[in-house]
Structures are given as C-alpha cells and as structure tokens.
C-alpha cells in the first residue's frame, strides 16, 4: 500500500474529510458552451466567511484543498484566501482558465507553495478554443498564463474537456502540453448542469469517438491494463456488501460559493450549509450525508450483478443526476461499453426499453 493509499484508508476509518473542493465563485469571464454552472452571484460567501470556513476545514483534518469556480480570479480577495489556506498548511490546488494570470500573479502563486494549477484548455486551435469559451482571445491569454506559471516553477496541468466540437483535437493538445512541459489530463464526459438541466449532455461526442479515446493507451497511463481488460465479472456478494461506490461523502466533499455542502461537485445533493451549521456538525451528523454513506455496491440497482463489476467507473453523482443515487449512471455504462464492447446490465435494460419506442416512432 502506498503512503497515499494508507493515508486514505486511515482517513476513511477515522471519518476524516481528507479532501474538499471549495468553489469561491460561480462568476466567470468565459461562457463555455458545456459549463454546468450558472454565472450569477446569488450571495457568495464573504472573505471573512471563507477564512472562517478554512479554519474549520483545517480543524476537521482536511489536507487537500481544491480551490475552484467559476473563475477564481474573479474574486479580488483570492490571494488573501490562498495565503490563509497555506498558513493553515493545506495542500492547495487551483483550477482556473488562466486568462487573468500574468507574470506577477504567477510569481505570487509560486511563492505560496501551491501544489498545482489546473488550466482548462479545449484545443490547440485558437478558433476552436475561443468558440467553446465564447471569449475572443482566450486561447492566447490561457496559453500565456500557463507559460507564466510554468516559468515561475509552478506545476501546471492542462485539463482538456472533450465534446463533439473538439474531440478530434486531443492529440494535438496533448502534443502542445508535451512541448510546453505541462502535464495533460483528459475528461471525456460532459455532465448535466448542477440544477439538473440535461441539455448540455447532448454536447457529448458520439460513441465511436469515445471508444477511440477510451482505447488510447497514451491517455490511460499505468491504468491501461486494468481499464482495457475484459469485464471483471460481477462483484462477489460478500465484497458488494462492504464496497463503497466512491469517496464522495466519505473522505471528500464540496462546498459551493454560497456555503452549501454536497458530497461532491458532481453530486448536487445538498447535505447542509455552513452559514447555518458548523462544518464539522454537517460532516458528522447530516442525515443526507449519512444516507449517502450508507450506500454499498450491493444496494445499486443492476450494478451489483453487472458483468463490469469492480472495473466499472460508476459515478454516484451522475446516477443521482439521472434520478437515483442508488441506480446506474448510464453515462458510465456507456464508457464501460466504449472500453470493452460489452453492454452493462443497465445499458442492456435501457436499450430493451428504447427498442419498442423506436419501432413505434417508425
């Protein structure tokens, strides 16, 4: 077991929220076509509220703090917040589009000992990138921002979210990242909006291109063998009674700019609000959070007996957004199919349901 795995297991056993994503704002200078947020300010936490929250998170044992948005540099108090977070000895990662980062800010980030800065980049082609962000000139600014950070000695990661508009560009973005000495990560899933609106899910790429990406070993790293193996078979029953679906709500959670607490940014099931309760009370006692924690693989409808078993990447948040946090995430069933060519139990069920409708439509 690695040091990281050992720490994760200890946090799980002790009920410690090891990792928190904190969104400082939903406001943004870009208007990305696939974004799951609305960009209005509905009453963001003040600087004092956020500083107080950070104190509470440190006291609760949070180690990894992902500071995200919206665009975090829209908050003029960003550096005050990050400085406080670093004084509290969090491992801090920032997520940004990089547009507002110039040399001075990059230098300041480097001095603060930030673990990494993740920058959203959609294409190697400026026109495609700007067409997705809806901000003319954003490609140029984003690349410059990444260069300033890299030159200041900050670890930079390009996060390349793929959809139908840019799915064919990922190889070139990967090459650009390599040439710039920047790490590259790909995300091939467009998720519904936090309010449940599924309109943007239509932006997902087609199954053929998804399968191509899922089989690209240059993207899978040391997980290639595991992810490209044939389906592992159903989870053994005794294991299914014990296995947790993921860390959301167990060692991780998400706090919105309004102080709402959720199991994960991708799991918009509100479990409390830090303006009404202390964070630790929400973490320890929220009935909703304990409901999430009670779920075991054996409870998942169709999943516990599915052929993909433990090789499935099912996201409980996506399942929640599909209507049932104890049900399947069909988007992950589709990924399992793209990887292996074998339809999951729930995908087969969905296809059986949809056949008569298609016949009727004809």
């Amino acid at each position: 077991m690695s040091v990281m795995q050992d720490m994760g297991a200890r946090a799980m056993a002790l009920g410690i929220p090891l990792s928190v994503q904190l969104d400082l704002t939903y406001r943004c200078n870009e208007r990305c076509v696939h974004c799951y947020l609305d960009h209005e300010d509905h009453g963001e936490m003040t600087t004092a509220e956020i500083m107080g929250l950070l104190d509470q998170l440190a006291a609760a044992g949070v180690f990894f703090l992902n500071v995200s948005g919206g665009e975090i540099f829209m908050r003029p108090d960003l550096f005050t917040i990050i400085e406080h977070a670093r004084k509290l000895q969090f491992s801090v990662k920032l997520k940004t589009n990089g547009v507002m980062i110039r040399e001075k800010k990059a230098q300041r980030i480097a001095e603060l000992g930030i673990e990494a800065v993740q920058i959203s980049l959609y294409s190697h082609d400026a026109a495609t990138h700007d067409e997705i962000t809806k901000l003319p000139g954003s490609f140029k600014r984003t690349i410059e921002g990444a260069q300033f950070l890299r030159d200041a000695g900050v670890k930079v990661i390009f996060a390349n979210v793929l959809m139908s508009q840019n799915a064919d560009h990922y190889k070139q973005v990967q090459a650009l990242a390599h040439d710039m000495g920047i790490r590259y990560e790909v995300d091939a899933t467009i998720t519904p909006m936090m309010d449940g609106d599924r309109g943007i899910v239509a932006l997902n790429m087609d199954a053929g291109r998804l399968a191509g990406i899922m089989h690209d070993t240059s993207l899978l790293g040391d997980q290639a063998e595991r992810l490209l193996s044939p389906p592992s078979g159903p989870t053994p029953l005794d294991e299914a009674y014990e296995t947790l679906p993921c860390s959301a709500g167990h060692t991780a959670c998400y706090v919105s700019p309004y102080g709402d607490v959720f199991p994960c940014v991708q799991f918009p099931y509100k479990v409390g609000n830090i303006r009404e309760q202390a964070f630790i009370d929400i973490w320890n006692d929220s009935p909703q959070l304990n409901d999430v924690r009670s779920i075991r693989v054996s409870d998942l409808q169709g999943c516990s007996s599915c052929v993909h078993g433990s090789s499935c990447t099912r996201c409980p948040g996506l399942a929640y957004l599909e209507g049932n946090m104890r049900g399947p995430s069909i988007q992950d069933c589709e990924k399992s199919y793209a990887r292996t060519g074998v339809a999951s139990y729930n995908l087969q069920k969905k296809q059986r349901r949809s056949i008569p409708l298609a016949v009727m439509a004809d």
């Binding site: 050992d6 720490m7 946090a11 004084k87 000895q89 000992g113 990494a116 670890k155």
Partner: protein
Amino acid sequence: MSTALYLLRSSNVAARKIGDELMIMFAQDSSLFSLNETAAILWNAADGSTPLADIVARDICPAFDIDAETALRDAAELAHGLAERGILQVGNQPFDTGSATT
C-alpha cells in the same frame, strides 16, 4: 552542542495530522511523507525562533524519558535529515519569519 540551532518549517510543503500520523506533502513533486513522532515534534515546534535545545528540553525529554545531551544530539541529526529532504530549514540564527508559512 556548542552552536545553537534554529528550525523553520519549509514554506512549500503542506502538512496535516491524520489520526496519529503527521503527513507532509511537497508542492514541487507531490511527494508524500509520514513523519514519526519525534520528527512531528520538531515540525510542530519549528517556528524559526525557538532554539533546538529548548524544544528538546520542553517537548522531547519529558516525552521520551531521555537525557538532554543524547536527545539534543539525536534531534540535531534528525533536523538535518529533515532539512536535507526540504521539510525544515536549519540555521545557526533565528529566522526572519515575516513572510514564512507558520
């Protein structure tokens, strides 16, 4: 030990006590360490202004029932080891902590 030593936590590391272990992570390469009990005492006391001899007398000798001379020698060796890994800075004078992470 003739020369006073002062310890200061490095500003580019993150730290948190998870259960009974103090975890340290480097920003530069994301490497993760678990500090043993004595190293954790040094980390927590490394404010840049308290001499190592005082830290040993206050925090180490009572906890480990060990004589001051041996404890100071061992602690100095450990502190230099932590400094080599970039976890602490070690100096012969108090540090200016105006801009340091404390």
